[in-house]
């Protein structure tokens, strides 16, 4: 339910847990916990950035939301209905239509043997968007919407004839084809050339503002998170440690891990050795049986109780929350 000021919640995740088996599937089942007790809301026309390093579980969350993986625990609510219920009532195809995903690798997200027209027409055909003439028109409209001119020429090309940035635009057009409510973007710009990245981010921002699409933007680059998303959440080893309004989180980080991330970013003119204050500790492999805060092994502010229990949520400012024992 939304008030006059805050947009309504489209996708809501509470206490999400995901375990993966390690080792042989038949032998003794050992599990690793990729996502632990993660909660967040996606609101209409808003972007939430999930920032984390590799192994933080950020991509896993997105794949659970697109039902590539099944969750191990927690609740997912879509448009007010529990996910399972929604799928049973409206069908998997309908959910797939409303929740779309864009991937990191522009080279891998398009099939090299099909031309661009095929890539964008397919979802329109699957979701029965009209007859051949209508679909043709829609394809060209979508290509122009994402900035690929001339549309007719581009539609006839094959993926290897396009640049990385253009391919990513095709992927966005394909996701847009079915009028989704939510787009999950998994590191959409990290494999693109630097000068092209902003074009893609600006395109996504326009889609968000003008078409009311909610975005979940997964990245390891906290600067682009601040640029694009209204809300930012920081993840570490499957746990969400700090989240809130992007400006608040990036300008006044409160969690020691976020502070570590921000102090590590290279800055022109600030030459010389920069000691980060983090201890040289191991990054733990989290299991269902693991206890405490995952950052305890490296935290400069670690206390005894940090190895016993994962901290509760503390509100540090308006729209700014962290989970830390030592504030």
């Amino acid at each position: 339910m939304g008030t006059n000021n805050t947009p309504e919640v489209v996708l809501s995740v509470k206490n999400l847990i995901k375990d993966f088996p390690i080792g042989q599937s038949n032998n003794k089942k050992n599990f690793m916990r990729a996502v632990n007790d993660v909660s967040f809301d996606l609101r209409k026309g808003e972007a939430l950035a999930i920032v984390g390093e590799s192994g933080s579980g950020k991509s896993t969350g997105a794949r659970i939301l697109t039902r590539i993986y099944d969750k191990t625990g927690g609740d997912i609510t879509f448009k007010g209905q529990p996910l399972q219920e929604f799928v049973e009532e409206h069908g998997t195809l309908e959910y797939a239509r409303q929740v779309q995903m864009i991937f990191q690798d522009p080279f891998g997200s398009l099939n090299p043997v099909h031309d661009i027209y095929h890539h964008i027409a397919r979802p329109l055909l699957i979701h029965k968007r009209g007859d051949k003439e209508t679909i043709k028109k829609l394809v060209y409209e979508l290509l122009e919407l994402v900035g690929l001119f001339p549309a007719v020429e581009t539609a006839e090309k094959y993926p290897h004839q396009l640049s990385g940035g253009q391919r990513q635009r095709v992927a966005i057009a394909r996701a847009l084809a079915v009028d989704p409510e939510v787009i999950l973007a998994d590191e959409p710009i990290s494999m693109l050339d630097v000068s092209v990245r902003l074009g893609i981010l600006n395109l996504m921002a326009d889609l968000k503002d003008k078409h009311g699409i909610s975005f979940m933007y997964i990245t390891h680059d906290i600067a682009t998170a601040r640029y694009f998303a209204e809300k930012t959440a920081v993840m570490y080893v499957g746990h969400m440690v700090e989240w809130g309004a992007s400006d608040s989180v990036t300008q006044t980080p409160q969690h020691p891990y976020t502070q570590l991330l921000l102090s590590a970013v290279p800055e022109a003119g600030k030459s010389g050795r920069r000691d980060l204050g983090a201890k040289k500790g191991e990054i733990p492999l989290w299991k269902p049986t693991s206890k405490g805060c995952p950052f305890a092994t490296r935290c400069p502010r670690v206390l005894d109780k940090c190895s016993d229990s994962f901290p509760a949520i503390t509100k540090v400012a308006d729209e700014h929350f962290i989970r830390c024992h030592n504030i």
């Binding site: 390093e53 590799s54 640049s163 990385g164 940035g165 253009q166 050339d193 630097v194 000068s195 092209v196 990245r197 902003l198 074009g199 600006n202 390891h220 906290i222 600067a223 682009t224 601040r226 640029y227 400006d247 990036t250 300008q251 570590l260 991330l261 921000l262 102090s263 590590a264 970013v265 290279p266 800055e267 022109a268 003119g269 600030k270 030459s271 010389g272 050795r273 920069r274 000691d275 980060l276 983090a278």
Partner: protein, 318 residues
Amino acid sequence: MKEALLEINNLCVDYVSPNGIARAVNNVSLTIGRGETLGIAGESGCGKSTLAFAIARLHKAPALISEGQILYNGRDVLKMSDKELRLFRWNDVSVVFQSAMNSLNPVITIGEQLTDVILAHKQVSYKEATAKAVELLAIVGLPGDRLQSFPHQLSGGMRQRVVIAIALALEPKLIIMDEPTTALDVVVEREILNELYDLKEKFGFSILFISHDLSLMGEIADRIGVMYAGNLIEFGDAKTVFSKPSHPYTKGLISSFPTIHGPKERLYGIPGDPVNLLSLPKGCNFNPRCADCMDMCKVDEPKLLDLSVDYQAACHKL
């Protein structure tokens, strides 16, 4: 003025492909002084990696160093015989590649890879080589017991340290680093950078640092050269290149990086796509994407102009 360790004069590198001849490096001239860190920035296809590999003569068919000279301490690397080249490589110049997993042999232990390098160039006993290997690992902050580990048993950051250790094995005067931290997380990248600062202070080698990350270069480089479509389009002191860029491409590149602490405004990057080397536009390579493009830009290729002492840019507007 530091004495030049490496001098590159009018270097041209061509790639012969079934679709035509692409000039990956076009008439590039620069110098690297002793103990200096020179950064080369640019995007994919600009020729920065090609330039770097040319210095160690790592190019094989269908690439060809068609013109120019590379003078290392006065000797032309391109004229060296195989024997001289072998002595030159790794003793004078070594290379750190982008992805450690690509440069480390996955089926040989770290220790063996280190000792292999040492034994290939020096007449020492296996025991002495192993001792030196332990020393090298310590220098990059890794414990000696890692000698028995295989690359896949180490984390990404540790692997990159091993690659740096191998590059240091013979104490070269120049280390070429091709995007050494691009594949690493930002915290690990910071640790590697710290390591590099320490090593530079201790050994005093020059670094040719290649990256697309201009903020990173603004931090660690003494001078920066910016390349686009094979041409060196801006070259000078790092602080100036970063804070007062002259070339429109450099300006666009710098404004492609959203900052964490700056004002929150819409940035635009550079319109268009990186250029295809097989179909270069007439005149300045950058003109299709340049906001300041004039008629002259579509006809004449701009040459590098000296804007001030040790600072050059190639643009018709200057």
